[in-house]
Structure formats: C-alpha cells, structure tokens
C-alpha cells in the first residue's frame, strides 16, 4: 500500500512538473498573468508530492518491506536503522528520487526567496526547473521505478553494500546532490535570461547567491566523499581520479569559474555571454556525471549497477536539455552587450584568465576521463587513464591559476597597474619564497615538490595579508578593529575561501611529501616505531556488531614511552553478504593522522598490520571546509538580504575597492553600497 502511494505521488508530481514546465513559460511569453502566477503554487505542490514519495520509499526501507524490489536488493533486516534510511538513496532508483526531491526543494526555495524578482522571470526560472524535473521523474517511472514490487516478496533483503554502511553514506550523497542539483538554479536563471533576452547585472545578482550556495554544497559533498574514501577504503588514499570522482570535480571546477565570472558580470556588466555559457556548462556537467555513473560506459569503483536502456534514456535527456540550451545560447548570445570597458591589466582580465585556466583544467580532466571511451569507440584499442596522467596535467594548469589568485584581489577593476602590483606584492613573494624554502627543512627533509607546493600556499596566504593591510590603510579613521569591522562580508568571504585553497595545498603537499607507511607482522606485544610514535599490538579479539562479526585489534600508541591512546582497527565480515571489510582506526590530529589497518591474521594471534603516519592530511578537508565557509559568508552578505532594486542596473555596483578612489569610481552609479 505504502509503495503504491509513493508511486501514485510520483505520477502526480510528474503531472505538476509538466504544468510547471509549460504554462508559466508560455504565460511569461504571452503576458498571461494567471499562467505566470501558477508557477509558485505548482512548484510547492510538486514538492509536497515528491516529499510523500520520498517518505514512502524511506518508510519501506526502514520497515523492511522486502516486497519492494529496491528494498530487497539494497537493504537487510539486520541493517541498523540509520543505514536502512540511508539505503533509500543507496541504489540507482532511490538516488534518482533523492535527486528530483532535492530539485523540487531548490525550486521551492526559489519560489519563496524570489519575492523581489519580476514575476515573469520567476515563472521562466521555475518553468525551466520544472522541465528538468519532468525528465527525471519520467526517467524513474519508465526505466527505474524505486517502487517496483517483487512478487513473491523476498524473505530477507540482500543487504546494502558494506562499503556504504557508514555515516558517510548518510550525509555525503545528499550534500553532493544538493550541489549538483543546485547548479540547476543557475542554469534555469541563465536559460530564463536567454529566453527573455534580459541579461544584465540584475540577472547576475539574482543568480549569484544561488550559485554560491550550490557551490558550497558541492564543495562539502566532494570533501565528505574524499574523507569517506580515506577512512573507509582502508589504504588511506583520498583522491583516485576515478571517473565518478572526476564527474563530481568537473562541475565543481566550472562552478568555481562561474562563481567568479558572475562576480564580474554583476559588478561590471562584463562577460555576460561567457557567464551564461558557464552556467549552462556547470549544470550540463552535473547531468553528464549522472550519465557516466549510471550508463556503464566507464568502469568505476563507485558506479551503480547499469543497464543500457537507462543509458539511452539519459543520453536522450542530455541531448534535449543541453542541446536545446546550447542552441538557445548560440541564437541569443550574439545579441548580448559587452559591458564595461577594462584594460588588459585589470581585475577583470585576471578573473577571465583564471576562468580560462579552470575551464581548461576541467576540459583536460574531461578529456582524460573520456579518452578510453573515445579510443574504444574508434576501435583504436583500450587504454586506461589514471592518476599519473591527471596529476601531470592538472598541476601545471593550476599553478598559474593559484599565482593569479594572489594577484587578482589586489588588482583594481577596470584598470590596474602592473608596477604597482609588483611593488605591493614583492614582500609577499619574498616571504612566501623564504618560507617555502625553509619549511621543508623543519619537516626533516628538503624536497623540491614540497617546496614548490608550499610556495603556492604561502603565496596565497601572504597576498591575503597584503590585501587586508592595504584595505585597512584605506578605510578611513578608527582603530584597527573598527576598520576591520567596516569591511563587507563578501570581502572576507573571498579571502576565507582563498585561504581554504592554501590550507588544502599545504595538506596535499605535506602528506604527499612526508607520508610514511609500514606493513608489519605484529605478534602480541611487538611494537613498531613511526613518526615519533610507538605502536604496540596487544592482541585481537572477536566482537559482534549489529550485522557483522569482526576481529578487533588493540594497538596502543605510545609517545616517549607514555601511552596516549588505544586504537582499535577492525576486520569485519558482514553477515548477509559475507563481504569482508577493513575498518581502519584513525587518530586524528592537527598536524598528523595515525592510521592503522588490520591485514591478514597469522599464527599465534599475530596479525599483519598496516600503519601509516600522515602528516597534515586533515588540512586537505579542513581547507575544503574553509572554502565552503567562505561561500556561506558570501551568501550571508548584507546586500543579498536587502530588498534589491529590480530595475536592471547596467553599469552598477563598484565594489569599494582599495579605497584610494580608483579612477573608475566615476562609473559607479551608487547602485549599492555594502
């Protein structure tokens, strides 16, 4: 009964999505106010029905309804409740339902937080989102219905993949999907702007906070995924350049470019068509990721069970959505104005150059990800493209981008002076150079790659200091604190996000440079030394989990002969699937992680144990969190909370930049001020 209710809600949601995707758009074109007014209630109705559908699926999972095929295949009655709930999105079908549910959540958010926008605009935006929703709900109903029954019902479910039985499963996919789906808002705004022909600074201002929020979710989603892989896969890697990981990284890179390009479009009215293209691309890449994960064209650790009919459906959907939007782009973009003038040396140019680097990096990752497929389709043989390729390509492309990241915030809009920048930044450069040369010595061994990575990181940090100092000097009277408090949140948000990049680079550099690992046979009482710590194995004993049995090792950690803690890695065997899992124990620290994993049992209670010392590894994820906080801070900036003038502001909004009355202030119409 409950699954049928869910199925029925899904069908009703489809009908509402169809309405949402057609009437408001037509209404906006014809000036039919009642059709325009339909958009908001229909969106909210669709949300209600999708919530019911999702609730029904979750209910079936939590209550072990093994007469539902999806539940029978991906859950088990022994599975702890939180994982039974998370199993709702553990399968292809369920994750699609989560996808559309989130899409409707974003649509509701747009319908609620867009009171100050012109109704036609909102109608078009919601209409476009409705069309996307139609595609996905149809996809579910036609090829992958999560409510399909299994007759006769299974007596017991075949269990959720043990790799997914982890708190990471509860939060990582929702976060990631919030990011993917969030880019649909930027996409819808871009399409709405193309349809209406109104691409102005106001459009950029409206879609900017949405894009930033989506970017924040995606950042957190990817970070959680990486962290999860680190502690769950059992050998301490955190990024594998797997096709599915790349599929999440591509929209992130393009989304990052978009966030920056939107800033220019909003503030200076420039790069409009480029920004629109990025908005289309970011979401298109999210969709492409969906295709890659679910169609089986690429082999990946994370792929869903695949089925060619699904692949054909999504490909058709991709062609319709992306093809038509690119066609619309080709038709409308040539008519878009160019915006404000700027010099070759200016913040605009630097942002554009950074955009270029990000997009080229994204293009290269896409090329590497799809190249095996390309070669195979041309019958040129099969190859693999893995980490060595991506690292060789990605690092050289990102190096100039990081360098520009330090330069950009100090450059003026419109027209900057190279000599002045050099003057201001020479100390930053010297300091970062000196630190980069000396720091590796503190770590014990000088390595060129470490020094190089640190140079980039400290360059970013030093330029942030220079920027803030400069800003304060030009912020009028008052103590340092009042002057600090005078700066806008969006200013700090930028620096916080950039600082996050620096922290991330430090983490990556140091863990790659100084990580140590040992694979040892540990008898009871034997020890191994690593990174100034002594690991002593005191034996392993059987433990029983809710749905698994395990051997749990006891490993004492000693520093200077004093015990600081006991680590308990496990080797689990899950009851339902019989799958073995390595559950490492990690001692997380500010400057290092100790990571211990059980290998194979030996005679006399001895075990093969893998021990890692990973300096600064947590900075990788901490850096990502800082980036995400930066994004949140930007969205909380006052100007997004104010009621915004809906008239298009073509040459609007000069950021109070560097105070010293830049030559361009005369352009500012005073459209905004903090």
């Amino acid at each position: 009964m409950i699954p049928e209710l869910g199925n029925f809600s899904l069908i009703l949601a489809l009908l509402l999505a169809l309405t949402q995707g057609t009437l408001p758009i037509i209404g906006a074109a014809r000036g039919n106010l009642s059709w325009i007014a339909l958009a908001r209630p229909v969106v909210q109705g669709q949300f209600v029905f999708l919530a019911i559908a999702f609730g029904c699926l979750a209910y079936s999972f939590v209550n072990n309804d093994f007469s539902v095929m999806n539940v029978a295949r991906n859950s088990n009655s022994e599975l702890p409740a939180q994982y039974r709930f998370a199993a709702s999105w553990g399968s292809h079908e369920g994750s699609l339902l989560l996808w559309v549910f989130m899409l409707s959540g974003w649509s509701v958010a747009v319908s609620v937080f867009s009171r100050h926008l012109p109704d036609e605009m909102v109608a078009r935006v919601l209409g476009v989102m409705g069309l996307i929703s139609v595609g996905f709900i149809l996809f579910m109903l036609v090829t992958s219905n999560p409510f399909d029954r299994l007759l006769p019902a299974a007596f017991e479910g075949s269990d959720l993949n043990p790799l997914l039985q982890d708190p990471g499963m509860v939060i990582h996919p929702p976060m990631l999907y919030m990011g993917y789906v969030g880019f649909s808002v930027a996409f819808a705004f871009a399409i709405a702007a193309l349809i209406s022909g109104q691409m102005d600074a106001a459009w950029a201002r409206w879609s900017r906070p949405w894009t930033t929020v989506a970017w924040v979710f995606l950042t957190i989603g990817i970070m959680l995924g990486s962290w999860w892989a680190y502690y769950e896969l059992g050998w301490g890697g955190w990024w594998f350049w797997d096709p599915v990981e790349n599929a999440s990284f591509l929209p992130w890179m393009v989304g990052t470019a978009l966030v920056h390009s939107l800033a220019v479009t909003e503030k200076r009215g420039s790069f409009k068509s480029w920004t629109v293209l990025l908005a289309i691309s970011a979401f298109s890449l999210s969709l492409l990721g969906t295709f890659l994960v679910r169609s089986g064209v690429l082999t990946s650790v994370h792929a869903f069970a695949t089925d060619p009919s699904r692949g054909i459906f999504i490909l058709g959907f991709l062609v319709i959505v992306i093809g038509s939007s690119l066609l619309l782009f080709a038709w409308r973009a040539p008519k878009v104005g160019l915006g404000g003038k700027f010099d070759l040396v200016s913040r605009e140019s630097m942002l554009l150059a950074n955009n270029l680097l990000l997009v080229v990096a994204a293009g290269s990752v896409l090329l590497g990800t799809l190249y095996p497929l390309i070669m195979d389709s041309l019958d040129l043989g099969k190859i693999s493209v893995g980490p060595p390729y991506f690292e060789a390509v990605f690092v050289p492309l990102m190096t100039p981008a990081i360098f520009l990241m330090g330069l950009g915030p100090l450059a003026r809009w419109k027209q900057a002076s190279l000599p002045e920048l050099v003057m201001r930044l020479r100390w930053a450069f010297c300091v970062s150079m000196a630190t980069a040369l000396l720091m590796p010595l503190v770590m014990g061994e000088w390595k060129p790659m470490v020094s190089f990575g640190l140079l980039l990181a400290f360059w970013v940090i030093a330029t942030i200091f220079v920027s803030i100092r400069h800003r304060l000097q030009n912020s009028g009277q008052g103590s340092v604190f009042t002057r600090l408090a005078r700066q806008s949140r969006s200013y700090y948000s930028m620096h916080l996000a950039h600082f996050g990049i620096a922290v991330f680079i430090i983490g990556v550099t140091l863990v790659n440079g100084y990580e140590t690992e040992k694979d040892v046979r540990m008898e009871i009482g034997s020890t191994v030394e690593m990174g100034g710590y002594t690991f002593r194995f005191t034996g392993a004993s059987p433990v029983t989990g809710p749905n698994y049995s395990a051997m749990r090792g006891d490993i004492e950690i000693l520093r200077n002969g004093e015990k600081i803690r006991v680590m308990q890695p496990e080797k689990r065997t899950y009851n339902a699937s019989g799958m073995a899992m390595t559950e490492p124990a990690i001692d997380t620290g500010f400057i290092r992680d100790l990571y211990v994993a059980l290998g194979e049992p030996l005679e006399n209670g001895a075990w093969v144990v893998r021990v890692y010392h990973k300096p600064f590894v947590d900075w990788i994820w901490f850096g990502c969190l800082l980036m995400a906080f930066g994004g949140m801070l930007a969205v909380s900036d006052r100007r997004y909370r104010l009621k915004i003038n809906t008239k298009p502001i073509e040459t609007a909004t000069e950021e109070k930049d560097g105070g010293r009355a830049p030559s361009s202030t005369r352009l500012a119409t005073g459209g905004k001020k903090g």
Binding site: S273, L277, I280, S281, S284, F291, S295, G296, V297, L298, T299, P308, G311, I312, L315, L318, V319, I322, G323, L326, L327, F329, A330, A333, P334, L370, P372, L373, I374, D376, S377, G381, K382
Partner: protein, 173 residues
C-alpha cells in the same frame, strides 16, 4: 558563428557517448592474438606425475579453455564444451586455473569432462603468461602454435557459431 562552437563540441561528445553505450568496457582485447602462444609444461590434472608440454600440440588446431571449479560462469559454458568435444571437431585442452585438484576432479565428475587433457596451474603462473584475467577464457591456437582468437567470458552458442567454429574450420582447412 563562434557561439555555435559549444553546441558543436557537445554534438561530438554525444556521438562518442552513444557509441560508448554499445561497448563493453570490461572486455580487454588480448595483445597476444596473432602471437605465438606462450609455451608451458605442466602436470596433468588426472595424472599429476605426467607433464604436458604445449609444444606437443604443434601441427594441430586446438582450444585452450581456462576453467576452475570455483568459477560460477564456467558452469554456464560447460555443456557447450562437452558437446563440442563429443563432436570431435577440435580437441579442447583445459587449464585448471588456481584450483585444488580434488575439487577440480570432483567438478569434472559432476558436470562431465570435455578435455582431451587438463593441466594444472595452481598458482596462476601460466595464466599470467597467457594474460588471463578472468575465468573462463578460451583461446584458439593454430597449427603453428599461434593464438588466433581469445574468447573472454563463457563460450556461448552465438560466439561458437559466429566466430570460433568458422575460425577453426578455416585454420584446419
């Protein structure tokens, strides 16, 4: 014009993706096809004290079938192999891959033994030489000891009729 470029790039991409849907990314063609089959000398499964050398097969067309009692999809192709061996068209040699002899013998007793001779490869070393990465796999080897075809995964009626049998006929001819 330049605004059409993204669309053009997308169309190319879709072309590749569409072709990609029909491909089998998990099947990796063997570079050994067209090359001399690696020589092995290995104990027979039934008479462990006797060694079979692959050189003994020079001058005839033969099949080398990699199998194991733990391999589930071997059971799928097995009836076909039994039938093929009864027809006497081509001798089938078995490579018992990473298996325990007693289990292997029991398995053959249960499902029938299509092999002229089965040799054992307990540590998978011959398997590495032949580039075996999954079981079952079947190689067609010609009179000069050159590998002419590799079937990855179970032999099916379709693959037998369309590829393997015609090839054998041609090679024997």
């Amino acid at each position: 014009m330049r605004f059409l470029l993204p669309l053009a790039a997308f169309i190319v991409l879709v072309g590749f993706l569409a072709v990609g849907l029909g491909l089998k990314p998990r099947e990796i063609p063997s570079p050994l096809v067209g090359k001399p089959a690696p020589v092995f000398q290995s104990p027979r499964l039934h008479e462990p004290d006797q060694i079979l050398s692959s050189k003994d097969n020079l001058g005839k067309v033969w099949l080398l079938n990699v199998w194991a009692s733990w391999c589930v999809s071997c059971r799928e192709e097995h009836p076909l192999l039994v039938e093929l061996s009864k027809s006497g068209i081509v001798p089938i040699y078995g490579l018992n891959y990473k298996d325990k002899p007693e289990l292997a013998l029991q398995w053959l007793g249960q499902y029938g033994d299509p092999y002229t001779v089965s040799v054992v490869d307990p540590e998978g070393r011959i398997g590495i030489d032949y580039g075996v990465y999954g079981v079952p796999e079947t190689y067609v080897i010609d009179k000069n000891g050159v590998i002419r075809h590799k079937q990855i995964g179970p032999v099916t009626i379709e693959s037998l009729e369309k590829k393997i049998l015609p090839l054998i006929k041609e090679l024997q001819g």
